[in-house]
Symmetry: C2
Subunit: 203 residues, 2 copies
Amino acid sequence: MARRIITISREYGSGGRFIGQMVANLLGYKFYDKELMRIVAQESGMSLEYVEENSEQSTTSLLYNLYMASMSGHTAFTRENLPPSYQVYMVQSQVIKKLASEGPCVIIGRSSNFILRERDDCLNVFIHADMRHKIERAVQYYGIPEDDAERLLRRKDKARANHCKHYTEHVWGMAHNYHISLDSGLLGVDVCRDIIATIARDT
Amino acid sequence: MARRIITISREYGSGGRFIGQMVANLLGYKFYDKELMRIVAQESGMSLEYVEENSEQSTTSLLYNLYMASMSGHTAFTRENLPPSYQVYMVQSQVIKKLASEGPCVIIGRSSNFILRERDDCLNVFIHADMRHKIERAVQYYGIPEDDAERLLRRKDKARANHCKHYTEHVWGMAHNYHISLDSGLLGVDVCRDIIATIARDT
């Protein structure tokens, strides 16, 4: 059975997004990253900026969220009385499930491996790399100043790990939570693309 | 550059050892698992049973080890005044480095990815699988009673994780600590063998 849905979680600067785009092109799958955020913004009525900021990074603490939830005075939660960051997660989950049901696609991040865990046609991938390769990529492609790159990369990944723990109770980056994890620094992005595409086609 | 040393860490029951053996056969590499333990027993003068029990599972707590270390009254540690489980780790580290320096090989577990971290010719692999596949394999090949298998598998992996944390300060099973992590339950052992052998040859 071919894996119709490919989710790609990735360390910041590892090239995971680029690899996902190449896999989608090679297999003729749809590709969801920024486009997913646009749909979530449209469905939720929130600004694209707010959705992007909260889609996979925890900007508020668990304690703050619990406080906000208790202050709402509700015992049953609906979308309307949840804190905004939870609303983003809820709409995002619905959109991801809908897109996955519509046809073959590659989805970047946003805990999509967890959100689609009930499906049996997903290939869940994690892309990582050593710090040197990630800094090179972040400086070259994202225009990040080299002298501040390592601190920024660590902060980005920490925010993703917090978001993952907060919403899924899983540890971000634990190999067991993905079908395949690849070091793009050692392998290069083309080899990563070929491994993922071959497995998606043949498994 | 071909990867001359392949280290394979693995969840209990994932078939990681078997995959490692097949990779070694395919590439004509030496294979170290039980044989490594025999060499460590010989070098340390400890019994094979003790070495096997302590080679990748923490049987004593960190607190106990700290207590033992403080009771020894030494400020500088030599092999002789370390607790026995530390002595196993120390000799094991020396043996792994020596074997790696002698020629291409596949080494199963024993924190070999960490011990050989200064080398630039290692391919570090982690093999995992879902619980159903691991139980099937453990019952079929290791003769473990099915009704107690899940508890036993979790206990084995917890001991490996504790040992890893204790000696290396790394989190066992974090994708970032390996070059490639594979779900043998989804992929099957033959596909895992082929991916590892191809990467070792071509990278």
